[in-house]
């Protein structure tokens, strides 16, 4: 029987009180953004906010609980932005959004950081069951960064994969690891690089016993990229069904899928809150289009991170996902 698991790709909005407090404590300029060495008062605000958001997920009944990535001022570029061997330069656009992050320029050896592991340690104290780690996938992280150390595209990607694998290795026990890979859609790798992107993911996935979900978004993967991605030893590949239905279905029909899949069915970038029944119906619709639909685990998630949303809408979306997974479970049974 298929298990339906409600989850999210993390990168949550801060509660409004924390937005205010952190604005006051940190400031609004580029040099005020997180550096990994924040002072005690700032750490305290993040701790309180983390606790609140973990509580919100538990209350909503989500099957996987994320730390929230509230410190990730630079969104999924965060693990590099706080690294000692990385210089952050100008403010650059985050994909096609009206959002910006500091351009991370890698100018030294990418050795172990432990920044994300310590966030997860803190979350692990609050979560008994279903903790989920979130990281940028190696391809996206390399795509968002500038390399002044490794010289060659393939070497840089390999270095990023090494770095991420080292970070994962230091994680506390987690149930699931989500690797966010929007760049696989937004700036699809060319011939050769697509295979290396898949190998890089494989390398990061090998560093954990947790189930690994690779979540591309803002559309569907090009056929070849998808085919290569299936070669990676991961439990699930995700699909952004909010942004693109046809190509995603085509990919599954043509190339098959992993044993588990992740379906981005709630819109992480729109305040319109879906009905849980509508999400459940979308699940049915997707499976109706597929010749074989016996997946072991189906993750139900927003298609993107949710920091784009006002806080209250974000909370509502989480509740909808939890309820939709329950409904789907009932229907399937």
């Amino acid at each position: 029987m298929t298990e339906y698991v409600s989850t999210t790709p993390g990168c949550y909005p801060l509660p409004d009180w924390a937005k205010d407090d952190l604005s006051d404590l940190k400031g609004h300029q580029k040099h005020d953004l997180i550096g990994g060495d924040e002072r005690e008062e700032i750490v305290t605000v993040y701790e309180e906010a983390r606790e609140e958001l973990i509580g919100v997920q538990q209350e909503a009944g989500l099957d996987r609980i994320v730390e929230g990535q509230l410190r990730w001022d630079d969104m999924i570029a965060h693990p590099l932005a706080v690294h000692d061997a990385v210089e952050t330069r100008g403010i650059v656009r985050y994909y096609d959004n009206n959002n910006f992050y500091r351009e991370p320029v890698v100018s030294g050896e990418l050795d172990f950081s432990g920044d994300v592991a310590s966030e997860l340690e803190a979350a692990a104290d609050l979560v008994d069951d279903g903790l989920q780690a979130v990281l940028p996938g190696p391809y996206s992280l390399a795509d968002l960064a500038t390399d002044e150390q490794y010289g060659d595209e393939a070497d840089f990607l390999a270095a990023i994969a090494d770095f991420l694998a080292g970070e994962v290795d230091a994680f506390p026990d987690v149930e699931t690891l989500f690797l966010l890979e929007p760049s696989l859609v937004e700036s699809a790798p060319d011939d050769g690089l697509d295979e290396r992107a898949s190998e890089a993911i494989d390398q990061v996935a090998a560093a954990t016993d947790a189930d690994v979900v690779v979540q591309p978004y803002w559309g569907a993967l090009e056929e070849k990229v998808y085919a290569h991605l299936l070669d990676a030893d991961v439990e699930a590949v995700g699909f952004d069904f909010v942004a693109d239905q046809d190509q995603n279905l085509y990919n599954i029909q043509e190339y098959g899928a992993t044993d588990d899949v992740s379906l981005g069915l709630a819109d992480g970038q729109n305040t319109l809150v879906e009905d849980p029944e509508a999400i459940r119906d979308r699940v049915d619709w997707v499976f109706d289009q597929l010749p074989v639909s016996t997946f072991e685990t189906v993750y139900l998630t927003t298609n993107t991170e949710t920091f784009y949303l006002p806080y209250a809408k974000h909370e509502e979306k989480l509740a909808v996902l939890a309820e939709a997974a329950e409904l789907a479970e009932v229907t399937a049974a």
Partner: protein, 356 residues
């Protein structure tokens, strides 16, 4: 050659034969006391009420309009003293919008990104009061900046329309209605601000279609400008030349004119409002530097098609820097006019043939 649409703003007794219209994009740093007045007004424990705040905004608008006059600008704005943010301000005045709280733009910079929850409708006028007040506070022509429908749609959550294009066109009709009212009130210079176009350049067709809605039945003599900033212009040029506007107001100083060549081929057929001071640098450029920048514009258009303006709104600069940039900009424009009169500037721009 003459350019009637632009020349209607030529001041009487203008000192030079050539006329390079000087103006601003719109926003200007708010005086600290005006921000303080807003805080007092929003503080429920304080007796500073709506009338007091209105008076403060009026004073601010008068002050900045006059500061623009003092800098010598040919066409002035009130510095958008009454506006908080370029989408929020309008969304509050349009039926169909709802606010759900702040969202992140970057770091700890947030904005109250509104949601469109039902069909948008025109309710009360957005800007006629603002325009009438400013026009009464100065003898100079007043420009009215309006956030364009594409940006209003793109920087909102769309809950109500099947697609964003439909929303954009509906909003364009509302902008058109507002411009009609502004024209009735005497406005002759409207600037549509579409910063979102720079970030999604592939959408230039819908912006063009929206502009057709915006200018429908607006008299020819009303000057319509389009302001775009921060983008890869090669992805929207020359397509934008088809847009039904008189003037394009472009940010170029910030990139040190590295995109200038984009506009050389094919010929730039509209008026060019060239950004000649960088709004992201808190140093006032010298008059000589700005003169050089203005001359960059003459590589694209002949003098009668050139307008001089800062790259973008100057609201994030310290006020004295903002003022300094404008004053130097005006002085530089007058100097370049005099040099043009004296035939001292070699016009690289190939003039259109005489039979044009």
């Amino acid at each position: 050659m003459s350019n009637e649409n632009k020349d209607q703003f030529r001041p009487e007794g203008h000192e030079n034969d050539h006329f390079l219209l000087t103006t601003v994009v719109g926003s200007y740093p708010k005086p600290k006391w005006l921000n303080r007045a807003k805080e007092l007004y929003e503080d429920p424990d304080h007796k500073f009420d709506a009338d007091d705040y209105q008076e403060a905004k009026d004073d601010g608008a008068r002050l900045i309009t006059q500061e623009h006059e003092r800098a010598g600008l040919d066409v002035v704005v009130d510095g958008e003293m009454r506006r908080n943010e370029m989408v929020e301000f309008f969304a509050h005045r349009i039926e169909g919008y709802e606010f759900n709280g702040p969202v992140k733009v970057w770091g700890h910079n947030y904005f109250d990104k509104p949601s469109v929850v039902s069909e948008v409708e025109y309710d009360e006028s957005w800007l006629v009061d603002e325009y009438e007040f400013t026009a009464s506070a100065t003898d100079r022509p007043v420009k009215v900046p309006i956030t364009g429908p594409y940006t209003l749609a793109n920087w909102s959550f769309n809950e109500a329309y099947d697609d964003d294009d439909e929303l954009t066109l509906d909003l364009a009709d509302l902008v058109n209605e507002e411009i009609e009212k502004l024209v009735e009130a005497g406005a002759r210079y409207i600037q549509i601000d579409e910063p979102a176009l720079a970030t999604t350049p592939d959408d230039h067709a819908i912006v063009g279609e929206a502009l057709e809605h915006i200018v429908a039945d607006i008299p020819e003599e009303v000057r319509i400008g389009l302001h775009v900033c921060y983008g890869d212009y090669s992805r929207i040029y020359p397509e934008i030349l088809e847009f039904p506007v008189d003037e394009f107001d472009l940010e170029l100083a910030n990139g040190d004119y590295d995109q200038l060549d984009v506009f050389k081929d094919p010929e730039f057929t509209a008026d060019l409002a060239l950004g000649v001071t960088d709004v992201h640098v808190a140093d006032v450029e010298s008059v000589e530097q700005i003169e050089e920048n203005i001359k960059k514009g003459l590589e694209i258009v002949p003098p009668d098609q050139l307008v001089v303006s800062p790259d973008c709104g100057v609201k994030l600069l310290p006020r004295e820097v903002a003022y300094g940039k404008m004053a130097n900009m005006v002085e530089a424009a007058r100097n370049v006019e005099a040099q043009l009169d004296a035939g001292e500037i070699d016009l690289e721009h190939a003039h259109a043939p005489a039979d044009d």
